[in-house]
């Protein structure tokens, strides 16, 4: 029997589910491989149980937590996909500021009405168990195809744990630091094919920090190029990179 697959979204821009549509003709192949039972943005229909549930977006409200737990209870395998789901993504920027102040700036006089409540942004794995993290803002759609194919064959694929610099070197790009830019490639998880440096822009760190990053090497790079911690803090906090790495 074909595995039942469902897609869900929480607080996000829905750019990652757009990558599913962007698979073009490959979607037809995937639809033949799996049974797509729930995907609100593209179809009408629901199901009670799933083999694979894809979760996009961050958790920012109590009722979202309840909805997420309910999905977790009804699925065998849960994939957090996209930076908002895997790390909290840009949605975590608000956690760096005083939440009441944030609400006042946006809502003005109505800021403390009870229905305008929000809590600090959480990644999906801060609420439920996640079986696979598909990183990126947005996700890499080739990774999506690879993961679905692997799971259909009963294999859980491995998430890359080496830095973007590895992929960037393979692309033979000129180092962003040599071009006078501040790049998060040395400590950011690979898997994107170093897409930003390849397009002339520094890595923004959207795939999160690698486990056990080489902090000394990062510090050496920063020192060599006369970059101070203050210069890079803003870069580190766009995609919720763990604060201890920036120390």
């Amino acid at each position: 029997m074909k595995p039942k697959v469902a897609f869900f979204d929480f607080a996000c821009c829905e750019g990652c589910q757009l990558q599913v549509a962007n698979l073009e003709e490959d979607i037809i192949g995937i639809v033949e491989l799996v049974d797509l039972v729930e995907f609100r943005e593209v179809m009408t229909g629901t199901a009670l149980e799933y083999d694979i549930a894809f979760i996009e977006g961050s958790i920012t409200r109590k009722q979202d937590e309840e909805r997420l737990r309910d999905i977790r209870n009804r699925t065998k395998f849960l994939i957090a996909y996209g930076a908002c789901a895997t790390t909290g993504g840009v949605n975590k920027i608000k956690n760096l500021r005083n939440l009441d102040q944030v609400r006042q700036e946006v809502y003005g006089a109505d800021w403390d009405k009870p229905h305008l409540d929000t809590y600090p942004t959480k990644a999906v794995d801060e609420v439920v168990k996640v079986d696979y993290h598909m990183h990126g803002c947005p996700i890499n759609r080739e990774e999506l195809v690879r993961v679905v194919k692997s799971l259909v064959m009963g294999i859980v694929p491995k998430v890359p744990d080496y830095p973007v610099c590895v992929e960037c070197k393979l692309k033979e790009n000129e180092c962003m630091y040599d071009l006078g830019k501040i790049c998060l490639g040395p400590i950011t998880r690979a898997g994107c094919g170093a897409i930003c440096p390849t397009n002339g822009a520094p890595c923004e760190g959207c795939r999160g920090t690698i486990p056990d990053p080489n902090k000394n090497a990062m510090h050496e790079v920063l020192q060599k190029h006369n970059v101070t911690i203050n210069d890079i803090v803003e870069k580190f906090t766009m995609f919720a990179i763990t604060p201890e790495v920036s120390k």
Partner: protein
């Protein structure tokens, strides 16, 4: 089933971007409630960019919306450039226009073909069409792939563009890439004609419903406006300056929904492809005009469902303009430019037409180029009040068709607007009963 008593409660309407609910309560012929509600989670972007340096503002606000990420990037860059007193080169402007057409193509194809056409075929998604109309699905995927390819070639990525920066591009497309892109766009003109035929074959299922409202879009004397222009309303004779956008958008909070709504000269207005068409249709190309006429758009139109037909017309226009822009870029020897600029204190407003309508970003920067204040007014927000008022006219007119049919028509109405609810709730949150 009669229209005497019915309760419709569509929780999280499908095939729209983001979460919305429709609630209708009719008791013994008395309409107690008709509500368009938005329960999307809040994200607080305007507060997120406060304290950030100008270079980081566009990459962050791009994340307001996946589908309109290119348009958000440009509204953001234009606002920042206005604040800093930067004038972009003609080359940068042409590349941005081309990339914006790429996004219009991506978004309109996705919306019309994947989200709306299933309604016209009376199906619950595009998936069953793979079995019954594989040639049409393959035509659509081919066109959509081309739209994405355009965005990859110019912007570096289909969603959340990488190369777009303040005062220019971090990398330029190669002439060979542009030549190949042009060849594919020329072929796409015939594919779009075929697509228009398919839409025409089911266009009879577009509901016959009319409600005249105020139509607002950009307008530009030199072109059918997407990237640049002034604000045009069908209720006002002269165009209005972009810097006066707050006089037009007038965002306000209503009790039934905490989604901010907009109104200008009436209780609501319409932003999107139909308003663009209504304000600027004389500036379309000959072929896009012909497609419009063939699909029933003959000048100003008051049927909100015709927004989808206007989107088909704009597909043709965007492809034709893209070909012209590529010719210009190839003739003008595309070359790297100096992107440096001087940071200064100030405020600036940027506006572009994104697939769903007119979009405004407004930033204030301090002398170090850090953002101190931000405001983004999104097309879907501007449309919420108009959707509500359409529903209020539609329910009494169509209630005799029975609950199932009425619910279907109301869902279709919401989809016709192509709402982008993630966008519209970039800062707001609604609880519902």
């Amino acid at each position: 089933m009669s229209g005497d008593s019915m309760k419709i409660d569509v929780h999280h309407i499908t095939r729209v971007e983001g979460h919305g609910n429709i609630v209708v309560d009719i008791d013994n012929g008395t309409v107690n409630k008709i509500e368009w509600q938005v329960p999307e989670a809040p994200r607080f972007f305007e507060a997120m960019v406060v304290g950030r340096s100008c270079e980081q503002v566009a990459p962050i606000t791009s994340r307001i919306c996946g589908i309109c990420s290119i348009g958000h990037t440009f509204a953001s860059l234009k606002a920042t450039e206005a604040a800093m007193g930067i004038t972009i080169s003609e080359q940068t402007r042409k590349l941005r226009e081309l990339l914006l057409h790429g996004e219009t193509l991506q978004s309109h194809l996705l919306h019309v073909c994947y989200l709306v056409v299933p309604d016209l075929f009376k199906l619950n998604s595009v998936v069953p069409l793979v079995a019954t109309h594989k040639d049409v699905v393959l035509l659509v995927t081919k066109l959509h792939r081309l739209a994405n390819h355009l965005c990859d070639v110019v912007g570096g990525r289909t969603t959340h563009p990488i190369r777009t920066a303040i005062n220019g591009f971090t990398m330029l497309p190669k002439p060979k890439e542009l030549e190949s892109l042009k060849k594919q766009l020329v072929e796409a003109v015939d594919d779009l004609k075929k697509l228009a035929e398919v839409v025409k074959s089911v266009a009879g299922n577009i509901p016959d419903f009319v409600r005249e409202t105020e139509y607002i879009s950009l307008t530009d004397p030199s072109d059918y406006a997407f990237y640049d222009g002034q604000i045009k309303s069908t209720d006002v004779a002269d165009p209005i300056a972009i810097t006066d956008y707050l006089k037009v958008t007038n965002e306000f909070i209503v009790e039934q929904s905490t989604a901010k709504w907009s109104k200008f000269n009436r209780d609501s207005y319409y932003a999107g492809a139909l308003p663009r068409y209504n304000n600027n249709y004389t500036q379309l190309t000959d072929l896009s005009k012909a497609v419009a006429t063939d699909l029933g758009l003959n000048g100003i139109n008051y049927n909100p469902f015709m927004n989808n037909i206007a989107q088909v017309v704009e597909l043709v226009f965007a492809v034709e303009r893209s070909i012209e822009i590529i010719d210009w870029l190839l003739d003008n020897n595309l070359h790297p430019e100096d992107r440096s600029f001087k940071i200064r204190e100030g405020q600036g407003v940027g506006a572009v037409e994104v697939p769903r309508g007119i979009l405004f970003h407004d930033y204030t920067y301090d002398q170090n180029g850090k953002c101190v204040k931000a405001n983004c007014v999104i097309p879907t927000n501007q449309n919420h009040a108009n959707i509500q008022l359409d529903m209020e006219k539609m329910v009494p007119e169509f209630k005799d068709r029975g609950q199932e049919q009425l619910q279907f028509l109301l869902e279709m109405l919401v989809r016709a607007y192509d709402p982008c609810i993630s966008c519209s709730t970039h800062f707001l949150q609604v609880h519902f009963v």
